[in-house]
Symmetry: C2
DNA sequence: TCGATCATGTAACAGGTTACATGATTTT
DNA sequence: AAAATCATGTAACCTGTTACATGATCGA
């Protein structure tokens, strides 16, 4: 359900083609919602059928046609309605934690390697987020509301990554050395 | 993919019926992996077909039959193989953060209420986790490996909930007062 | 010339949710 | 007497993933 509203929100910010949207999801929205281009095109099709977005096909000489979408009034209303409805928290589903429940079947050395990879992963994310924060949200208090809200989402990404790193400090200690006991 | 290994891990710990498994997923595994009873029965069926688990039906006088499953050797091997394979991080998909991206369409008062609910939610979780920690993992260093690993998963739940509460401190400030600007 | 990126899709499948079904036992 | 919990499922649907398809342009 939420994908369609993520699309509406993104298009409400700026009209865009499917391709441009899929880029935004990969970059600016990566810490918010993930979606592949296939999913995006499919959902855009449905939104179009239902009249929540509309599109003009702009033919281009010697280039494939552009097909930018924008939100209709109906779409904006639907978005507002959804926004006002409290959403349940997403379910927790983490394969890494499943592994920790496997107990004696778990090989310590393999797990130690995986945790090292994880640390790298979250270190990279954290650096990327902090870069964005430093360049775009320098002085949050003076920002217009829109950007303050986006900053809040970014903050969530930052705190999340920091917490994973702190957890890794605990976890790697448990897997360090000779995997004793 | 991971659900089947969560089931194998749970059954490897202790054999159980579908019903008992769905209870464990709701309680002890809630911070690790969520699964409904429908999903569990379906997956158990597949695992049985593929010979990774086996079951005896135990008829009971004046009660519905019990059908406890346990992991076979094939199952245990499959579990070990999966455990040794690094898993990609799950994609981020949070409707709450989507809302923050909707910018000017977002109603501040409604959001403030939702955030208040969230705070309650994570406060409850945190208390529950800490209770479990205090009663079952009093002295982690002396615990056998199995339980140290489960403790690590619980720690992840605790740190996660604490972080949400800290984020809420930042977020609620932004939505407090008269939703100005 | 080869691979990457631009640009838009279709099709099949796997995983997860919602709704429905049934019947006994225990608690309020 | 009604509601919750025990206990086991089926069916339809929605969402997300993987694989495939096509063709142009641009930089190494």
């Amino acid at each position: 359900m939420a994908l369609r509203y993520a699309l509406l929100a993104a298009l409400n910010e700026t009209p865009a083609t499917g391709y441009e949207l899929s880029q935004r999801f990969r970059t600016r929205l990566a810490h918010v919602w993930n979606a592949s281009h296939q999913q995006i095109y499919r959902e855009l099709g449905k939104l179009h059928e239902e009249g929540l977005v509309s599109a003009e096909t702009i033919p281009q000489a010697d280039k494939p046609d552009r097909k930018p979408y924008h939100v209709t009034d109906t779409g904006r209303t639907a978005l507002r309605t959804w926004l006002a409805t409290p959403q349940p928290r997403p379910a927790t589903r983490d394969p890494l934690l499943v592994k920790l429940f496997a107990g004696d079947c778990l090989d310590g050395a393999a797990m130690a390697e995986e945790l090292a990879g994880l640390r790298q992963h979250y270190r990279n994310r954290l650096r990327a987020y902090r870069d964005i924060e430093a360049t775009w949200f320098k002085d949050p208090a003076t920002l217009p509301r829109r950007y303050r809200l986006q900053h809040l989402a970014l903050r969530r990404g930052i705190l999340g990554a920091e917490t994973w790193l702190r957890w890794l400090d605990e976890a790697q200690q448990a897997f360090s050395g000779t995997d004793a006991d």
